[in-house]
Symmetry: C2
Subunit: 113 residues, 2 copies
């Protein structure tokens, strides 16, 4: 098995990419670890940070474990806090937005993502 | 998309099953939600709780978000705390054990699990 701490994984700063702001991602488990079909990443959004409002041909499985914010879809806006899960089906528009204290969540995707 | 809070999902008490103790699981995202290939569950272990020491033909992708404990393998024992990820390959023996304050983690598995 492979155990990692959050601190030992290098972050990828996604801020400014494709209309995102204050977004950091750490890839905790990927295909390079031998994971056969899906990856586990942790996203950390700074205060008022946001991911792009976009869609792609793979799903997201998300669990919020710190902070508060929301997830925006086509005409929808759900509040998020620690303990919320979000399933985003493939092809569906979505954007994660942090509140004033930021937000952190696990986001799993199939390897094609 | 589907958003759920931890509180609204009914727990499954796995204590006593197959040599486990003080284990509660909530299935946050499953195939019933339309997830095409893997599920996201949250496990909560009470103080000194533990999952079975077992193996199965599917992997685990785990992220600890509360508490402390350890993950035991064949001759290995890694400490765990908030921010640790664990990749358990298919077929590998493993057991999650909580410390005195309990431990909570996300555990994703392919649907065959």
């Amino acid at each position: 098995m492979k155990v990692r701490t959050y601190e030992e994984v290098s972050p990828k700063d996604l801020s400014g990419e494709r209309n995102a702001s204050r977004v950091e991602m750490k890839e905790m488990i990927t295909g390079a670890d031998g994971a056969p079909s899906f990856s586990l990443r942790v996203f950390r959004l700074g205060p008022e940070g946001y991911t792009p409002f976009h869609a792609h041909p793979w799903e997201h499985e998300v669990f919020v474990f710190e902070g508060t914010g929301s997830v925006v879809g086509e005409g929808t806006n759900y509040p998020l806090r620690k303990g919320c899960s979000v399933f985003v089906p493939q092809g569906e528009m979505h954007q994660f937005r942090a509140g004033g204290e930021g937000m952190a969540f696990v986001c799993c995707v199939p390897h094609k993502g």
